[in-house]
């Protein structure tokens, strides 16, 4: 096994997503020449719908990092940021994007072009610390950009109270005012309602798509995780809805034809934590032993339905819920969601990626592991790695653990009626 490998994809949608990725980054590159203001923001909040409704260009530096990992640009970016004094123990997204904006953004051209320099920075207070610190560094790097200091309550899902929602609503309104003042563009609230409606439709489609993975054999695996790109970058647009509708049709056909990922699906796996962006081929590794990764935690972040009758509150709630949904902020919800998924998706074993670049998702894994074993008799393994930095991934160690785990699951399957 290599440190880096690309995944084998089976869905026709995989080709379509390549086109969408290309077009999105071309749109980013050309925004300035078309007179469209560019705003950089963290993902998983209500700013994206606001941007699309106002005809602005949203850019997601966090999402650019997987692109850098996939295209082999990350090691060079790490070298730049580490030479600036950023510790190797910091999150790979942080080291990558800071390296990128201090290096290749001005010089090299990747296959997907380069990110446009921001006119606006939506700098978060809330979310995880590395993302907050990324934006602090971006403020320094791009001093001409107008900065919105966003603020969001950090609260577990089951503890959200009216004053949390009211504060988040105030922040969404404040963001709209800030953009209006900075860009001179007025918010068209009909367009915002439309964007929220499209976002909600995309979430509904996303949920339906994920539910198709409950079929045995599953019509697609985690190797196709790239389809998530539309949920990160195209929420609030018809592009996401059209793409997801096509994916759904393809899945319906595959399920009707009982067409699985591999000829003989014996073991169904769950993946916890962010994938190794430089080695999505890892998901295919289990296929050699008739195992398929049929569900993962990360995809649940896009499973938030929105009240289209109240777009502002819908965006506030989305912003409040997205990060806690997948992180240690809402540990109980996360644990319950994994246990529920394991039941619904007929999971045989769970792979916990102990991710050196993401403490908020890694913390609590041992508790979840124990609960899975105690209450559902579902075995699991820990894979030590890093979603961005391949220096923290050891293929031989992975292979040893994964092989032993799969052998155990296959043996258990034989003895379990």
């Amino acid at each position: 096994m290599d440190k880096k490998s690309k995944s084998t994809k089976r869905l026709k949608a995989a080709k379509e997503i390549n086109r969408i990725v290309f077009e999105y980054y071309m749109e980013c590159s050309q925004a300035k020449s078309r007179g469209i203001p560019v705003g950089w923001m963290p993902p998983m909040n209500g700013a994206i719908e606001i941007f699309y409704a106002m005809g602005l260009q949203p850019v997601f530096p966090e999402n650019w990092s997987p692109v850098c990992a996939a295209f082999g640009m990350a090691p060079g970016n790490f070298e730049i940021s580490e030479n600036m004094g950023y510790s190797i123990d910091l999150c790979g997204y942080l080291r990558n994007i800071i390296g990128y904006v201090h290096g290749p953004i001005a010089t090299s051209q990747s296959v997907l072009g380069n990110l446009p320099v921001p006119d606006l920075l939506i700098s978060p207070g809330g979310g995880c610390v590395p993302v907050m610190k990324i934006f602090h560094a971006l403020e320094r790097r791009f001093p001409d950009a107008a900065v919105f200091r966003a603020d969001l309550p950090q609260v577990a899902l089951n503890d959200i109270q009216p004053h949390h929602i009211q504060y988040a609503v105030r922040e969404i309104r404040r963001l709209i005012s800030f953009i209006e003042e900075t860009t001179g563009r007025k918010m068209d609230y009909d367009k915002l309602a439309q964007a929220v409606s499209l976002s909600d439709r995309a979430c509904a489609l996303w949920d339906e798509i994920m539910s198709y993975r409950k079929y045995i054999p599953t019509p697609f695996s985690a190797a196709e995780i790239g389809i998530m790109f539309v949920m990160v970058t195209r929420q609030g647009t018809q592009i996401a809805v059209d793409f997801l509708e096509n994916v759904l049709k393809e899945l319906q056909n595959r399920v009707a034809a009982k067409q699985g990922v591999i000829p003989e699906e014996k073991i169904r796996l769950f993946w916890d934590n962010i994938p190794l962006w430089y080695n999505l081929g890892l998901f295919n590794y289990f296929e050699e032993m008739n195992g398929v990764v049929v569900a993962e935690t990360y995809s649940t972040a896009w499973s938030i339905r929105m009240d289209t009758n109240d777009p502002i509150q819908a965006l506030a709630l989305k912003s409040l819920k997205s990060y806690p949904l997948v992180s240690c902020v809402s540990m109980e919800t996360r644990m319950d969601a994994i246990l529920k998924a394991c039941k619904e998706y007929s999971i045989d074993g769970v792979i916990f990626h102990r991710n050196k670049s993401c403490l908020p998702i890694t913390l609590g894994q041992m508790d979840i592991k124990r609960r899975l074993e105690e209450t559902m008799d579902i075995p699991s393994i820990i894979i030590d790695a890093d979603h961005m930095d391949e220096r923290n991934f050891f293929p031989a160690q992975f292979k040893n653990r994964a092989d032993a785990f799969m052998e155990m699951l296959l043996a258990k399957r034989k003895t379990t009626p």
Partner: protein, 369 residues
């Protein structure tokens, strides 16, 4: 409870488990907190004794059954101690999202110590009127969760608690100032114990001890001219050996930007129309920590120190894997360089040992200055 003034602070710190277990047995409700953004005045007003959960020096074994290796010594050691039963006196924890590590660890504590109730508070990152209103609402929500109402008697209790902690902070800052100016003979190690004792002692006993210390003030100061004035900065310092070593080698710590130092003591209290507003004002204005602020927002206090004090160097004493402080290092090193101030970063693990490598680096650094 009385302590010998000579080593009273150290005694209080080292005998904290015994004392706190006794108080717990007598029916005193004790709540823990990890971070100094927790409003301890509010807990005191709810008749709860706030006690800071600390890591300190020691082994880490059992905690790895629940935590990854790549988390700070503070969180590892705290959990290790809790698993060994050293926090059995706690009936609750009040904590905000200080950083990813604390947020995740409080969830781990919640899963593994069901007898300890967890109260999470969300603190705003901005300071503006809506953020302050939200802050008040969040405190009101906590008061309600703790079974209290914000009636007149509670307001009065809160007013008294604020007044008491104001006196404590004033006293600590006075001792710190006297130590800096040579009116009190207090080493960095002793100052560390003075601060730590405050995190684990009942406030009235602590204030008595502080006042005894203040009365030791000399009439004329001791000269410190031959020492090298340095600043130390980071998050929690789990053991004072590293501070003592800096002093042994000729350094004099003239200011510390640590949460086990005096970062959380300024300002002593806040202003407002009612006690809750005062409390919010105080926590909004406190010296910022890297976990909740921009490096640029921390810099003005540093700049003031560099302007008015003869700082010769900065030693960043960081916990391994501390994302908030590690992220701010490039900015600070750059700013210091622009001001002609040399700096080094040392990273400490849970042993808090001043290893040969660290000694060599500190020796060379101070020699160079």
């Amino acid at each position: 409870m009385t302590f010998d003034q000579i080593d009273g602070f150290r005694q209080a710190y080292e005998k904290r488990s015994q004392v706190l277990n006794e108080l717990h047995a007598q029916g005193q409700k004790i709540f823990g907190y990890f971070c100094t953004y927790t409003p301890i005045e509010l807990l005191a007003a709810c008749k709860v004794l706030p006690v800071r959960i600390m890591g300190g020096r020691g082994k880490t074994e059992q905690c790895y059954n629940l935590l990854p290796e790549f988390i700070c010594p503070f969180m590892k050691r705290s959990l290790e101690k809790a698993l060994a039963g050293e926090y059995a006196f706690l009936s609750g924890i009040v904590q905000s999202y200080s950083c990813d590590a604390v947020c995740g660890c409080q969830a781990v504590w919640k899963n593994n110590f069901p007898d300890i109730s967890l109260y999470s508070i969300s603190l705003p990152y901005n300071d503006n009127p809506p953020a302050r209103d939200f802050y008040v609402e969040e405190f009101q929500s906590l008061i309600k969760k703790l079974g209290q109402t914000t009636d007149f008697s509670f307001q009065e209790a809160l007013r008294q608690a604020i007044a008491q902690y104001r006196k404590i902070r004033e006293a600590v800052l006075m001792i710190y100032q006297y130590a800096q100016s040579g009116f009190l003979d207090i080493s960095a190690e002793k100052m560390w114990y003075i601060v730590q004792a405050g995190f684990v002692m009942p406030p009235d006993s602590y204030l008595d001890l502080l006042n005894q210390q203040i009365r030791e003030k000399r009439k004329t100061p001791v000269t410190t001219e031959k020492q090298i004035p340095v600043i130390v900065s980071g998050s929690e310092i789990g053991h004072p050996d590293i501070l003592s070593y800096i002093e042994q080698k000729g350094g004099r710590i003239i200011w510390d930007d640590h949460c086990t130092g005096i970062r959380s003591f300024e300002p002593e209290a806040g202003c407002g129309n009612d006690p809750l507003e005062c409390l919010v004002d105080r926590y909004m204005k406190r010296l910022p920590c890297a976990s909740r602020s921009r490096a640029e927002d921390r810099w003005p206090e540093w700049d003031r120190r560099l302007q008015y004090e003869n700082v010769q160097g900065v030693i960043f004493i960081l916990q391994k894997f501390c994302t908030p402080h590690l992220s701010d290092i490039p900015y600070f090193k750059n700013q210091l360089k622009n001001n002609g101030i040399p700096s080094i970063v040392v990273e400490m693990d849970e042993g808090w040992e001043v290893s040969g490598q660290i000694r060599t680096r500190i020796d060379s650094f101070l020699d160079m200055i």
